[in-house]
Amino acid sequence: MFDLSSATTRRAKRGLRREWRLHALSIFSLSVAFVCLATSLLVVTNLQAVEKRWSHAGRASIYLKDDATSADVAQLKDALAKVPGVNGVRYVSSGQARETFGKDEDPQGSLAALPAEAFPASIEVDVASDVTDESLTEIVAKLQKLPAVDDVETYQSWTDKLARLVRGGVAASAVLAVIVLLSVLAVVGSTMRFALQRRRAEVEVLRLVGATDRFVKAPFIVEGSLQGAAGAVGALAILGAMFLLVHSRVDGELAALFGVQPSFLPWQFALGMVALGAILGAAAASLGLRRLVQV
């Protein structure tokens, strides 16, 4: 596409140095655009981690009917203990459930008047983390047929909701990526056209001494590419700073709530975004300079 000879890099450096205010403004605009994309990617990657964690929640709650007898419970516990992947089985009576709720969620006792049916007896099952959703669903289907079982909660619905959220996040990221693409094209293209106007005399001289289109355009394309990459790096720096600020304050709460520590963008994503910025910047500069000053 263009040569990266010393003359090109020297002219690009000279252009960046002489038009540094213009380039700084352009990089800032690109950073703002890239921050939106990076934020959405950060949310998606963390949601994916939560989804993965919850898809292997490792537990299920089997709610028993009110008329389930101790014999039913004992039989169910024995049967469950023999199922492959089940690590432990624990019976929680209606009274214990009320007590736990009162201790954890309602210390003031404002909901003490709730009827006994609000706290059904259950069997809490610890499932090995390598048991997949499909196998757990099969077990649940079998359990639900038993006469003493009222309902089975596997937290699959949470996983489904998270999966839908992730899909939504990915779609939002794709839309943001398109917006970023358009922003880069507009910002870098305009900057390069403006720079070209400001360096009209230089282009005229280059034409006179026999420079080819490629030679004339090359430094502008290098500048565009650097702008795009710098915009992406700037966005990562802004997002990284924001992440560090928020991370220390809400880390514990989020970990307790979702069972996953929030993490920053993986380095592959960050690198990919910088590369995307560089490529988009070069393409935008090239498109913006389709019509060069003619002499």
Partner: protein
């Protein structure tokens, strides 16, 4: 045949004419054949102009303002295209070159203008070196050749000065150094002394003559009559869209165009 295979790009060696065979060296460097050019319908600037310029000549183009001197030069380095006719430069029709070939044509032609056409923010060195950077020469060679060119135009040691702060005469010397550093076959000067005082103008003309003595063909467009009288040279007067050739210079008896020149 001249003009045959005209779409081939110029790919010059640095030395003028090095790419061309012995027969090319025998041909005139420049031939205008029935050249027509107009910017407005019914008002042609050039109408059927014919002219031959041999290698190594020093030719003044002169004529009143608007006679077509600048147009003629712009046609030569393909900033404009002829409406009709041919301009053969080293046997090739300039008008038929593809856009991709134009840069290679320009590498064979050095241009100097009245308004210097320098990049003010660049240093003197950078303004001259760009001609060789375009050719992709190594920096070591560029440094040596730019040094030689600056020495030839009397700007030795001024390489690091910003071009914009130099005087008019010095800026024109930079432009001349830029034009000659690539050792072009042809040097075009379009009113190069137009912005200079008379003494500086004569100095600059002397510089062109020195360059000419080293074998470069020079076309010097001017309407300054005093310059034509400095030394007898071939003078081509542009009048009414045609070229009138006065081989012995204006200081001869054949002076019928003289009244049309501004004094």
């Amino acid at each position: 045949m001249p003009g045959e295979d005209d779409s081939r790009p110029f790919r010059p060696k640095l030395r003028a004419g090095a790419r061309f065979g012995a027969d090319a060296a025998q041909r005139p460097i420049l031939m205008f054949e029935d050249v027509y050019k107009s910017y407005r319908p019914g008002a042609p600037v050039l109408r059927g102009m014919n002219l031959v310029i041999e290698r190594g000549e020093f030719v003044f183009f002169t004529g009143a303002s608007g006679a077509g001197k600048s147009t003629l030069l712009r046609l030569l380095y393909r900033a404009e295209t002829v409406d009709e006719g041919r301009i053969l430069f080293m046997g090739r029709d300039v008008a038929r070159l593809t856009p991709d070939s134009i840069p290679f044509l320009r590498r064979n032609i050095g241009c100097v203008f009245q308004d210097f056409k320098l990049v003010d923010s660049w240093s003197v060195y950078e303004n001259v070196a760009i001609t060789l950077e375009v050719l992709g020469l190594p920096q070591r060679l560029i440094r040596a050749r730019v040094g030689e060119a600056l020495e030839r135009v009397g700007l030795d040691g001024r390489g690091s000065d910003p071009a914009g702060v130099l005087s008019g005469g010095e800026q024109q010397r930079i432009a001349i150094a830029r034009a000659i550093v690539g050792e072009p076959a042809l040097l075009l000067a379009d009113e190069p002394t137009g912005n200079l005082d008379p003494q500086l103008a004569i100095d600059i003309l002397g510089l062109f003559e020195e360059i000419h003595e080293s074998g470069t063909t020079v076309i010097f467009a001017t309407h300054d009559r005093t310059l034509l009288e400095v030394r007898p040279r071939r003078v081509v007067v542009l009048d009414n869209g045609k070229a009138m050739d006065v081989r012995a210079g204006v200081a001869t008896e054949d002076d019928d165009f003289d009244n049309e020149l501004p004094v």
